[in-house]
C-alpha cells in the first residue's frame, strides 16, 4: 500500500491535482475560467498586442528589414501630412466605404426580407443567397476578374447584347470603383443571415397590433420592423464600416491597386509600403493611422447613430 502511494505521488500531475483539490469552489471556477479564455488571451498577446507594440516602436524608426532599426523621431509623421499617395489611398477607401456600406446594408436587408417569407424551396434560396459570402476570397477575386474582363467578360457580353458600350471595368479608373462595390455587395450573405435572424426574432404580435390599428405594409416596415431591427442594423453598420476599411485581397489580386491608383485601398498601401518598398517604419505609422481612423469612426457611429437605436431590453 505504501509503495503504491509513493508511486502515485511520483506520477506527474499528482502535485498539481493535490494543489487543485485544495482550492475553494470559487477559486476553482476562476482558475478554470482563465484557462478556458487563455487561448484567446495568448493569441491576443502574441499575434495582436505584441505586433501592435512593435509597430508602435517602429513608428519612430526607419527599418528596411536588412539593418537594425534607426531612430528618426517624428519624421514619418511629418511625411504623413504631405504624402500624395496616402491622400489618394484614403480617398479611395472612404469613397468605397461611403458607397458600399449603405448599399450593402440595404441589399442585405432586402434579401433577408425576401427569404423571410414562407414558401416552398425557401431553404434553397437562402443557400443560394448565402453561398457568395463563403466563397474563398481568392476564388472570388479571380471569378470577378473574369466576369469584368473588358474583351471577353460575361458582364460586357450582356451589356453589348443590349447595345451598350464596352466598359473597361478593371482598366478604367472611372468604372473600377463600381466594379468593387458590385463585388462587395454580391457577398452580403453574412449580413443577410444576421438580418434574417433579427427579422425572425420580431414577435408577430407587434405586426398584428399594427394591422388592427390599420397600418399598411409600408407603415409596418417603418414603425415596427425598422425600430425592432435597429440594433441589428447598427451592428451590421459598424462591422460593415470596419470591413470596408480593410479591403485587401480583391484589390491585390484583381487590380493590384490600379488602374492609376483607383483601387489603392489603405490596407494595400500599408502592405506595399512594408513589403515592397521595405519601409516598415512608415508602414507602422500607416497601420496606427488606420487604427485611429477606425476608432474615431466607431466613436462617431456610436455617438450619433447608436443613440437612435431602439433596445427592447436596454438593461440586458
Amino acid at each position: 500500500m505504501t509503495s503504491l502511494t509513493a508511486k502515485r505521488e511520483a506520477e506527474p500531475g499528482f502535485w498539481l491535482s493535490r494543489q487543485y483539490n485544495r482550492l475553494t469552489l470559487k477559486q476553482r471556477r476562476t482558475l478554470m475560467g482563465y484557462l478556458f479564455i487563455m487561448p484567446f488571451i495568448l493569441g491576443f498577446l502574441i499575434w495582436w498586442l505584441g505586433p501592435a507594440m512593435v509597430a508602435g516602436y517602429l513608428t519612430v524608426h526607419k527599418w528596411n528589414f536588412l539593418s537594425a532599426p534607426r531612430f528618426i523621431g517624428l519624421a514619418h509623421f511629418e511625411k504623413l501630412v504631405s504624402d500624395p499617395i496616402l491622400a489618394q489611398s484614403l480617398k479611395v477607401t472612404i469613397v468605397f466605404s461611403a458607397i458600399s456600406v449603405p448599399l450593402g446594408l440595404v441589399f442585405a436587408f432586402f434579401l433577408a426580407s425576401l427569404i423571410n417569407s414562407k414558401f416552398r424551396f425557401i431553404a434553397i434560396f437562402r443557400t443560394i443567397y448565402f453561398l457568395p459570402s463563403i466563397v474563398p476570397a481568392v476564388a472570388n477575386a479571380i471569378l470577378w476578374a473574369w466576369l469584368f474582363n473588358t474583351e471577353f467578360g460575361l458582364i460586357n457580353y450582356i451589356i453589348r447584347a443590349f447595345g451598350g458600350p464596352k466598359i473597361g471595368w478593371l482598366q478604367d479608373p472611372n468604372w473600377v470603383m463600381l466594379a468593387f462595390v458590385i463585388l462587395t455587395v454580391w457577398g452580403v450573405g453574412g449580413s443577410m443571415i444576421i438580418f434574417l435572424a433579427g427579422l425572425q426574432g420580431i414577435p408577430q404580435i407587434f405586426y398584428e397590433a399594427a394591422e388592427i390599428d390599420g397600418a399598411g405594409r409600408w407603415q409596418r416596415l417603418i414603425h415596427v420592423t425598422l425600430p425592432m431591427m435597429s440594433p441589428i442594423i447598427f451592428f451590421n453598420l459598424v462591422i460593415g464600416f470596419i470591413n470596408s476599411f480593410q479591403v485587401f485581397v480583391s484589390a491585390l489580386l484583381i487590380t493590384d491597386g490600379g488602374p492609376q491608383r483607383a483601387t489603392l485601398f489603405l490596407v494595400l498601401h500599408i502592405w506595399r509600403t512594408a513589403f515592397s518598398s521595405q519601409k516598415m517604419g512608415y508602414a507602422s505609422v500607416l497601420s496606427w493611422l488606420l487604427f485611429a481612423i477606425l476608432m474615431l469612426l466607431s466613436f462617431f457611429v456610436f455617438r450619433y447613430i447608436g443613440s437612435r437605436v431602439y433596445y427592447e431590453n436596454p438593461g440586458e
Binding site: N64, F65, L66, S67, I85, I142, A145, W146, N149, T150, E151, F152, G153, P165, K166, G168, L170, Q171, D172, P173, G257, G258, P259, Q260, R261, R272, F275, S276, S277, Q278, K279
Partner: protein, 457 residues
C-alpha cells in the same frame, strides 16, 4: 531481465527523443551526421522551374556528396521576395537563393548578399575571360565594383506570331537579322491588314467599328519591359546612366506614345492588354487566330512553342522606331551573407553558373544563355531544340541580343518608385492618356524616390 511492453516503449521513445535533442544541439560526433553540410536554396517558379532545380540539386549532390541542398520553393516571384524580406527580419534567410533583379542592388548595398567578387575572378571556369557574355554580365552583377550574385540567364522581349495568318495574307514575317526587322511605319501598315471588325473591315475602311474588333494584329503589354524597350527603340532610355528613370525625354515619351497609339489611334491592339493573363490570354489568342502577333518575354517560349501550339508559329524581332532594341534582365543567384556555410554555398551558386544548369532551362525555351560558349555553333547544339525553338531562334541569342539588347541594372528604390508613380503612369497610357501629359510628373516624383534611396544607402 525482462521488461514490460510499456517500459520498452518508454525506453525507446526516451532514447530517440534524447538523440534528436543532442543532434539538434550538435553534441553528436560528426561521424553520425556523415559529414554532410546542408544548405538551403530559396527560389520561385512554375512547375518547369521547380523540376529543373530539383534535377540540378540531384546532380550537384551526386558530384558533391558532402553537401545537401534543401530547395525552398515559392511559386510566385513577388511572394518569394516578400518571404525573403521577412526571413531577413526573422534571422532565417536561406543560405543561397534567387534574387529579383529589381531588388538586387538594394540587398547588395544593404549587406544581405555575400561579396563573391574574388571567388568569381579566381575560379578556373567562371573566371575565364569572356566566360560570360560581356560587358552585359559585369554591368548587371557589379554594385560599386563588386559582385554579389551571378545572373541566372537573360530574358528579353520579341514577337511570337501565328505563321498561318502571315501565310494567308502573303506577308513575310519579321526575323532577327538586321535586314529582317520592320520599320515602325511598315509594322503599322501590316497591323492594319491583320485587324478586322466583325464585318471583316480593316482599320481605315469606311464603317470600321473599333468597338467590335474580332481579330487583332498585335498585343503589346503595358509594363516596364515592353514599354521600356519602346523608349530605347525610339532613341530614349528607360534608365539613365545615373540610375534615374529617363522616360520623360521627348524620345522616350514618343516611343511610349507609339505603343498607346496602337490601341487608341490605330485600333490594332486590344485594350485589355495589361490584363491579358485574365480571360483569354495572348497564347490562346494567337492559337485561335484572334491575334497575329504577341509581344512577350523570351521565357514565354516554354509554353508558346511549336510543339505546344495548334497552329504554325514563329518568332521575330520587334520593329524599330529609331533603332532595334529589347531590354534584357533576369534574376540573380546569390549567397546570402548570413550563411554559416559560405564555402558550400558558393560551390552550389557556382554550379548554377555552369553549362549544365543553364542548358536545362534553355532547352525547354525558358532561358537564353549568358555564357559565351553556349552561343558557338557547338554550344547551340547543346540547347536549341526542334519543336521548342523556331528555326531562326538561335539568331535572337547570337545576333540580335548582343547588338541590340539593352541590359538594365535596376537601382535601389525602384520598386517603390514604380509602384507609386511609374506603374500608374503606364496604366494611364494604357487607358489612352497622352505620354506627354502623364510621364513628366510621374518621372519627377519617381526620381525623387530613387535619389532619396541612393542617398540613404
Amino acid at each position: 531481465m525482462s521488461i514490460s511492453r510499456r517500459e520498452f516503449l518508454k525506453l525507446t521513445g526516451g532514447s530517440a527523443t534524447a538523440a534528436a535533442m543532442l543532434a539538434q544541439l550538435g553534441y553528436l560526433p560528426p561521424v553520425l551526421a556523415q559529414d554532410v553540410t546542408t544548405i538551403t536554396f530559396g527560389g520561385w517558379g512554375g512547375v518547369a522551374e521547380d523540376e529543373g532545380v530539383k534535377a540540378a540539386i540531384e546532380v550537384f549532390m551526386e558530384e558533391n556528396p558532402d553537401i545537401a541542398v534543401e530547395w525552398q520553393h515559392t511559386p510566385d516571384a513577388g511572394e518569394y521576395g516578400r518571404i525573403l524580406l521577412s526571413s531577413f527580419a526573422a534571422g532565417t534567410a536561406p543560405d543561397t537563393g534567387f534574387i529579383l533583379s529589381d531588388n538586387y542592388e538594394t540587398l547588395a548595398v544593404g549587406g544581405a548578399l555575400m561579396d563573391i567578387t574574388d571567388l568569381v575572378k579566381n575560379d578556373p571556369l567562371l573566371g575565364q575571360p569572356n566566360y560570360f557574355i560581356e560587358p552585359q554580365e559585369s554591368n548587371r552583377c557589379e554594385v560599386n565594383g563588386r559582385w554579389y550574385g551571378i545572373g541566372s540567364t537573360w530574358v528579353a522581349h520579341h514577337f511570337y506570331y501565328n505563321a498561318e495568318m502571315f501565310e494567308a495574307e502573303g506577308i513575310t514575317p519579321p526575323g532577327f537579322q538586321d535586314d529582317e526587322i520592320w520599320e515602325w511605319e511598315e509594322f503599322l501598315e501590316i497591323c492594319k491588314v491583320f485587324t478586322r471588325d466583325s464585318s471583316g473591315r480593316n482599320p481605315g475602311d469606311a464603317g470600321f467599328d473599333s468597338e467590335d474588333i474580332v481579330q487583332w494584329a498585335v498585343d503589346w503589354p503595358f509594363w516596364w519591359m515592353p514599354l521600356g524597350l519602346a523608349a530605347h527603340a525610339n532613341g530614349g532610355e528607360f534608365l539613365t546612366e545615373e540610375g534615374l528613370i529617363g522616360l520623360d525625354s521627348p524620345e522616350a515619351m514618343e516611343g511610349l506614345q507609339r505603343i498607346s497609339d496602337l490601341v487608341y489611334k490605330h485600333h490594332v491592339a486590344p485594350r485589355s492588354a495589361a490584363l491579358a493573363s485574365l480571360g483569354m490570354n495572348n497564347v490562346q489568342m494567337v492559337d485561335t487566330g484572334r491575334l497575329a502577333m504577341a509581344v512577350d518575354g523570351s521565357w514565354a517560349l516554354s509554353w508558346m512553342n511549336p510543339s505546344l501550339m495548334n497552329v504554325a508559329m514563329g518568332t521575330g524581332a520587334l520593329p524599330k522606331m529609331a533603332q532595334p532594341a529589347s531590354i534584357m534582365q533576369a534574376h540573380f543567384h546569390s549567397v546570402l551573407s548570413s550563411t554559416e556555410h559560405p564555402e558550400e554555398a558558393w560551390r552550389w551558386v557556382r554550379f548554377l553558373a555552369t553549362p549544365f544548369y543553364q542548358e536545362h532551362f534553355c532547352k525547354i525555351g525558358l532561358w537564353i544563355p549568358n555564357q559565351s560558349a553556349m552561343l558557338t555553333e557547338e554550344g547551340l547544339e547543346g540547347w536549341i531544340r526542334e519543336g521548342i525553338h523556331p528555326p531562326n531562334y538561335s539568331q535572337f541569342a547570337t545576333d540580335y541580343l548582343p547588338k541590340h539588347g539593352v541590359a538594365v541594372a535596376i537601382p535601389p528604390g525602384y520598386i517603390e518608385a514604380a509602384n507609386d508613380y511609374i506603374n500608374p503612369a503606364f496604366e494611364a497610357l494604357a487607358n489612352g492618356e497622352m505620354a506627354v501629359d502623364v510621364m513628366p510628373d510621374a518621372v519627377r516624383a519617381a526620381n525623387e524616390i530613387l535619389t532619396a534611396a541612393k542617398e540613404d544607402m
